[in-house]
Amino acid sequence: MSDSISRRRFLQLTGLGAAAAVMTGCGPASRYVVRRPYTDMPEYARLGESTYYATTCTECPAGCGMIMRTFEGRAIKAEGNPAHPVNSGKLCSRGLTAVQGLYNPDRIKGPARRAKRGEESLAPLSWDEALGEVKTALSAGVKTAFLLGLAPDHLYDLVSELAETAGTAKPVRYGALGMFEARATLVEAARQLFGEARFPFFDVAGADLVISFGANFLETWLSPVAYTRGYSQFRRSFGADKARGYFISFEARRSLTSGVADEWHPVVPGSEGLLALALANLLAERGWNLPVSSVDPAAAAEAAGISLEALTAVADRAAKAARPLFIPGGQALAHSAGLEAARSILALNLPKGTLGQSGGMSLSPAAADAASMKDVQALVDRMNAGQVETLFVHGVNPLFELPAGLNFAGALGKVKRVISFATYPDETALQADLLLPDHSALESWGYQRTLAGTAASAIAARQPVVVPLYDTRSSVDVLLSAGLLPYADEVEFIQSRLLPVLSAGGGNFDAAEIETFWARFLQYGGWWSAQGAQPAAQAAAEAAQPVQPQSLGEGKFRLVVYPTQLGDGSGANRPWLQETPNTSTTVMWNSWVEINPKTAEELGLHNDDVVLIKSDAGEVEASVYLFPAIRPDTLAIPFGQGHTALGRYAEGRGCNPAEVLAPVLNAAGDLALGDTLVSITPTGRRRPLSRYESKVGVYGEH
C-alpha cells in the first residue's frame, strides 16, 4: 500500500501547471513562462524525460495491454505493451486515442444532482452527500439494480460480491459490441458443444485456411488487435514450413475484414448456418468425420445467394487444408437461428483434430458469463414493474446502445433513483438523477480478465497514469464507502482478488507475497500464465437443425448494422476517431447508408442523397454511400453515431441505427438484429458526406 500512496502523492505533486507551458506559442510572448518545479521530486523521475506506465486499455472489453507515455504529469501517448499476450505491443485506433477521452473537455467534472431528468442544468453535490445517497440506495437490497459494461473487470467482481453479501440484485451487463458479436450465442454454442461456457479462441496465426462467417475479427470482433496479429502471422509464409494462409469470407458486405479476404462470397445474412451445414455435408463426402444433415448443398447455396460451384470450391479447398479454421462471427449469429448457426460453424472445427493446437480452436480459460439481451430485457421488465428503486449505471450507455424497441427510456422513468457513474455526459447520464463521475480509465486502478484475445489465462492490470483531473472518484471506492464489504479501499479489494492468482503461480512473474506481486503486477501490466488452456473433451456433435434465412418482402431490404472504430459509440467523443476515415468508405464524422450502386440506380439514388430507413421498430435518416461491395438486397449502416449527448464531438452527427432494430431475441438470448428488414425512401434532400477519398473522377459522379 505504501507503494500506491507514494505513487498517488507523486502524481499530485507533479501538478498540472507545467502543462500550460507547452501550449503557448513560439513567438517572443512565450519567452518567459512560469514553470512550477516539483516540491519534492521522486528519485526515479528525470526532468525532461518521459515516464512510462503499464496499464490496460478499456476502450473495448478485449483488455489489451497499454504503455502510457507520460511527461510532466500529462499522459502523452498510448503505446501497446510488448509483453502483453493479447496485443504484443500493438494497439488499434480506439486505444491510441484513449488520451482524447482522458482529456476530453466535456467530461463530467464532479458529482452533481440533476433537478429534472433530460435537462442539462446540474446542481453541484458534495461527495459526502453523494456517498450518503449511495449508502441509502445500497441498503434497499434487491430493489437496487446495477447495469454495467461488458468488461470483465474488478468492478463487476465487486458488484457481484455486493449482490451476494448485501443482497442487491445481480448485476446486469450490456454492451453494444456484445450485441453485434452475439456473445451469448457464441458462448452458449461452445457450452453445448464442449460443455463449458467459454469464449472460443481461434488461433488464426497457425491456420492455413480461415473461413469466416461474418466475423469482422480485424475490426471490432472480440479482440481485434489479437486477431490482426494472428492474421499477420497467418498471411506470412515461412519458407517451406508454412504457406501463406488463405482466407475465405462469407459476409453480406465486404467489410474491412472481408476486404482482405482472398475470396469473398456475398451471402444472404442469416444463411450462414445453412451454409455451414451444407459445407459439413460436402466435407463429409470428402472424408471428414462430420454428422450429415438433410441439407442439400445446392439448395443451401441458392438460399445464400451464391453458386454451388463456389461452395464446392470452398469445400475442396477446406478438404485439402491442413489446419482450416471456421470462425462464426456476429453477423452469422445475431439472427433468430443464430444459435444453430453457431453450433454448425463451430462443429466444423472439430474433425481435423486441431483443437487446442496451433492453427486450431481452443477455449478461453476464463469463465465467461456472457451478458445477453435476455438479462437486459428482464431488467427492463423489473423496472417497468416498479421493482427497481435505484439503478446504478456504469460503463454502458443503454439509452444509446439498446434497441429503441426495448423502450429502456420508458422503463427508466419508473425507476425512482438513477445513479450514473459516467465519466462523460452521455445520453443515460442526461437521464440520471445523480452523477457520481468515475475516474477515467487512465486515472484509476483496476484489473481485467482477458476473455477472448489469447488462449492463455491473463489478468491485465490497470493503474492511474496521471493524477485525476477533476473531482471524480473511483466507483469502487464509492460503493465500498457504504461499508457493506470488508475492504478499506479499491486497491485492497483488487489485491484481495489477486491472491488466488498469486498462489496459483506459473505466470510471467513470481512473487512471494502480495506487496511484491502487486508491484510487479503493475510493472508488467498484468499477470498471465505461460500455458494456454486445453479445451475440454468435446461432446458428441450432432447436426443442428437447418433454418432457412428470412424471406424478403417486396421493397424490403436486409439491414447490416456494424460497429466501426467508434466501437459501442463511446468513441464518438474522440475527435481523432471521428476523423479517422472508415477504411472501406473513407467517410468521416458522420453516418451513411451503404447501397449497392445497381440498387441505387434502380431506386434513383445518388451519393449523398438523404434517405429514410424504416423498419417496424423505427426509422433513421442518413446519406447514401454507393458501396460497390454489398449485396444488392442489403443495406448497411455503421453504428456509433447519432448521439444526442456525449459532448461537442459526438452530438448531432449521423444517426443511431439502434433505433431501427427490433427487440427480437434468439435462442441464446441475444438480439436477432440481423432479422431486421427495412424499407428505404428518398427524402429528396442531399447532405454531402465528409469523405477522404476523391469525389471526382473515377469514384464519384461528376
Binding site: S694, G697, H702
Partner: protein, 481 residues
Amino acid sequence: MAAEVKPIPNAIPSPHAAEEEDLREHLMFDPRPREEMNRMVMDSMTHTTPRYWIVVGILAVLTAVLLYGVWGYMIFTGIGISGERRPNYWGIFIVSLVFWIGISHAGTFVSAILRVFKAEFRRPFTRAAELMTTFGLAAGALWPLIHLGRVWVFYWMIPYPNARWLWPNFRSPLVWDFMAITTYLLSSTIYLYLPLLPDLAMARDRTKGWRHVVYKFLALGWRGTEAEWFRLRKAINIFAIAIIPVMFSVHTIVSWDFAVAQTGGWNSTIFGPYFIIGAILSGVSAVVTILIILRATLKNMDYFIRLEHIDALGKLLLVFSMAWAYFFFNDYMVSWYGGSEVVRTILTFHASGPSAWIWYVMLLCNVAIPWLTLWSKKLRRTPWLMLIVTLGINVGMYFERYTIIPITLGHQRMPFDWGEYTPRLPEISLALGSLCLFMLLYMLASRFIPMVPVWEVREGQEAHQLRKVGKTVVPSVSELE
C-alpha cells in the same frame, strides 16, 4: 531631315486637299499646334466631374473592403477561408497573379517593342499602356503575398545577410519569380517615368499650387536642352532594348513556376512561349479596353486616340490570338502524342470534367470570337464591339490560367487524391478587389499624369510629312534621330 523634301505647311491650301483630308484621319497627319495639344492634355487632367469622384470613392471603398479588409481578415484567421484544399493548393490567388503579370506585358510590348520597331501608331497610347504595366504589376505583385500562408515573414524570400546564416533558395522558381517581378516592376516604373519627364515639365509650366510643387519636383528641373534630350533618348533606347528580354523573362519565369514542377500537365517545355503569347494577348486586349474607355470618358482624348489605333491593335490581337491557338494546339498535340497517361487524363478532364465549361468559354473567348470578328476592318473600328471582344479575351485568358492551375492540380498521379476546387467568397472578393485597386490607381493617375506623351506625338507629327509623288500626295516618314 532630308533637305530636298520641303514640308508642305499645313496652313497653305494644297491642290491635293481631298487626299490630305483622307490622311487626316491619322493623328500623325492631323497636327495641331503644340500649345493646343498641351492645353488639351492639361484639360483632361484637371477637369473632373462629380461623377468621376463618385466612381473613385466607390472604388476606394471597394478596394479597402474587398481587398485589404478581406486580406486582413485572412491573415488573422488563416488562408483556409479560401477554397483551396488538397490537392488544389493553388487557386485563384495564383491565377490572379499570372493574370495581372500577363496584363502588365502590354505596356512593355506596346511601348518598347513597337518603339524599337518604330511602329508609329504607338505614339499616343504608349503612356496609357505603360501605366497599365505598372499598375498591373502593382496589382499582380500583391498576389504572391496574399497567397502566402504566413505573409508576415515574406521577407525571408529577400536575400539579405542575417543572424541565422540563411539565404533564400536560389534554386526555387519562386525566388526567381520574386526577383523577376521586382526587376520588372522597378524597370517598368522607371520606363514609365523617363519619357514622362518632358511632359511633367510641360505640366509644371502650366500649373499652380500643389500640382506645381509636385510636378516641379518630379520633372527634375527639365528644361529641354540638347543634352537633356540626348540623355533621355539614350536612356530610353537602353531601356527599350533591355526591358524586352526582361519582359520575356518575367513571364517565362512565371511559366516556370509550373513548368519546372514534375506535376502532370505543367511539366512542358512549351509553357514559356505559351505563357508569353497568352500574356501579350491579354495585355494588348486590355490596352484596347482601356483606350476605348479613355476615349469615351477622358476629355479631349478622341483627338489623340483614334479608331486607327484600335484598328491597328485589333490586327495585332488577331495575330496573337492565332499564335495563342497555335501554342494551345501544340501543347495538346505533343502531350497527346507522347502518350503520358497522367497528362492525357488531365487534358481529357479539362474538356470533360465538371469544370469543362471553363475550358469551352476559354476557347470561345480566345479563339472563336476574335477570329470571327477581328478580320473585318469595319468591326475592328466599332469601339463597343471591340470592348466586348477584348473584355472577352481577358475573361478567356483568366479561364486559361484557371484551367492550367487549379483544375490541372486536381488531377495528379494519385487518383485517390483527386479533387475539385471551388473558389469561395473571400477569394473572389480579393480578386475583384485587386481589379478595383487597378482601376482606382488608373483613375487617380489619369488626373495626375499626362495620359498622352505630347512630345512624342509632336515628334511624330514633325516627322510625318506629306510628299508629292507623281500626281498624288503620299505620307513620308522621316526620322528625327
